[in-house]
């Protein structure tokens, strides 16, 4: 248990952003000014003999538990003893001195904590240095800061356990603060609102309804959280108050109605967030898998083009027409070997393709399966050919870049290509200015 609590405190200490480190010589620096009565003068030429087991763990805590011994321990004593013990088969080192003990002072949940790292491992290679913690204080009589006014310090109490209890109590106080709770409300509202916005953006009726509900509820929670954060007074959401009023109308007692109001509010947050997240993930995840592109579509300057030929030429000119070469390729698509010719940027092995959506627009495009003619055989063939061409290019070349003047085309085929596993295909939006 001791080990666990110490490990927890040590972990907290290591994570504490305000940690300050000081060498032993600097431990009494004005910034923190703790007293370190447990650490004797390092200039002492003869270290005191140790009064407790060496390497038993937390010598600092043991020192605290042994009346009268608190000022007698110094790790240098251990170093000297071991270096003189021939049975340990350790070559005594002439450089055994003790400049290496390091003391850290840091704040954990508003408690000042001192950590001592022994330098034994510096002098004795096989030795494992350990680390101990205690609370630091400026009080000479209570160097670990554990004594409350009027109370004698019980030396048998584990200082680390006490530190943990103090930290937990402080944490409870912090969490119970209305302003902190207001901050939590704001955070929860942001999460709910974000999930709701994603869900509302999905093209499904359910997603839009749930997403809209989540956004509205998140606004309510966020406004209450903000007011609570500013005023420091508890502010209830309109949702909670409305549910409470409804429950009262149904005959519930005032206490039960309030519980229903507050519980229902929390449930609403959880339900809206979970529902919106599920809806959004249901659509976003396949799209993300599907689309090597859509997270952000690179855009190049618009070109003047009325026809696919003009568009292709204009796109090529953006690269510099001389950069392009035609290349024969063979590719394996679904087990079949197919031949083709592509416009390629040589040396880089990049195939470039331009897809133009004309005046008819995407809603009437032959390549759009949702268009009026989208299910006609010739349209299906055209749609299939777009995919098969991409599959051939993807198989034969290192990169494939599709330019299109229509974002709907890009959105649709980036999904189609992604679902087909074409990971090296990219889209570029190159608008066309019809003239």
């Amino acid at each position: 248990m001791k080990t666990t609590t110490r490990a927890a405190l040590l972990l907290l200490a290591l994570l504490a952003p305000s940690a300050a480190e000081a060498s032993l010589e600097r431990a009494g620096a004005p910034r923190l000014a703790p007293s370190f009565e447990r650490t004797p003068d390092v200039s002492a030429s003869q270290p005191a003999a140790p009064r407790f087991d060496l390497f038993a763990g937390d010598e600092l805590a043991r020192a605290a538990a042994e009346p009268g011994s608190a000022e007698s321990f110094h790790p240098l004593a251990a170093v000297s003893l071991l270096s003189e013990d021939a049975s340990l088969d350790l070559a005594p080192r002439s450089d055994v001195s003790y400049p290496k003990t390091r003391v850290w002072v840091f704040d954990v949940f508003s408690q000042r904590v001192v950590g001592v790292s022994r330098g034994l491992s510096v002098e004795l290679d096989w030795g494992s240095a350990s680390f101990s913690c205690g609370l630091a204080s400026d009080e000479r009589e209570d160097p670990l800061g554990l004594q409350t006014p009027g109370e004698e310090l019980d030396p048998s109490v584990d200082v680390v356990q006490k530190a943990i209890v103090k930290a937990a109590q402080t944490t409870q106080k912090i969490l119970a603060n209305p302003r902190v709770q207001g901050g939590f409300k704001l955070f929860a509202a942001a999460a709910e609102g974000t999930a709701g916005a994603f869900a509302a953006a999905t093209p499904t009726g359910v997603g839009q309804v749930v997403g809209f509900g989540a956004v509205v509820h998140a606004s309510d929670v966020g406004a209450a959280g903000l007011r609570q954060l500013i005023t420091g007074q508890e502010v209830r959401t309109f949702t909670s108050q409305g549910l409470e009023a409804g429950a009262k109308g149904l005959g519930f007692s005032p206490g039960a109605a309030r519980a229903i109001g507050e519980g229902g509010d929390v449930l609403a947050s959880a339900a809206f967030t979970a529902g919106s997240t599920s809806i959004a993930r249901g659509l976003i995840a396949p799209a993300a898998r599907a689309a090597p592109v859509l997270r952000s579509v690179p855009t190049t300057p618009a070109v003047q083009a009325n026809t696919w030929q003009e568009y292709e030429t204009a796109v090529r000119n953006q690269y510099g027409a001389a950069a392009f070469r035609q290349r024969q390729y063979q590719a394996v698509v679904e087990g079949r070997v197919v031949n083709g010719v592509a416009d390629v940027i040589p040396n880089a092995n990049v195939a470039v393709e331009a897809k133009f959506v004309g005046r008819e627009g995407w809603s009437n495009s032959i390549r759009n399966p949702s268009s009026a003619i989208g299910d006609k055989p010739f349209a299906v063939n055209a749609q299939t050919e777009v995919l098969e061409q991409a599959q051939r290019y993807s198989a034969a070349f290192d990169r494939v870049i599709y330019h299109s003047n229509d974002l709907s085309f890009i959105r649709y085929y980036s999904s189609v290509f992604g679902q087909a596993g074409l990971e090296n295909v990219e889209f570029v939006y190159t608008p066309s200015l019809l003239h």
């Binding site: 035609q326 070997v337 390629v344 290192d398």
Partner: protein, 122 residues
Amino acid sequence: MSTLTIPGREPRPGRKYLYLQNVSATSFRDLFPTIALSSEGPPPKAGGAVNEEVGLTIPSGETLWAISFKGDLEGWRRKIIECAQGRKLLWGEISEEHLRLSDGRYVPLASCRVESSDTQGA
């Protein structure tokens, strides 16, 4: 030696290069589409091959044309070599600034003439 880029001289991750003999760029364009279909062995399982339109003419006069391939690297290599062997053509690959030929010759790239049959994209 020409300043044209010699395919395969610089390694590209996931892509390998072989050179296949033919008499001209035009006839090589006729030969290229048959490579993966040119023998009884199984075709490559995945990926593709590209006619790089670059030829190396070795000092003895033969010209070999560059093919790059990716995906099923072993499968494509096997098909290109089978294509060469079936037609009794030389094939080779670049190794340490030399063209190592299927007949055992080891020709310094510096002694080769590089030619391009590029067709500009239309």
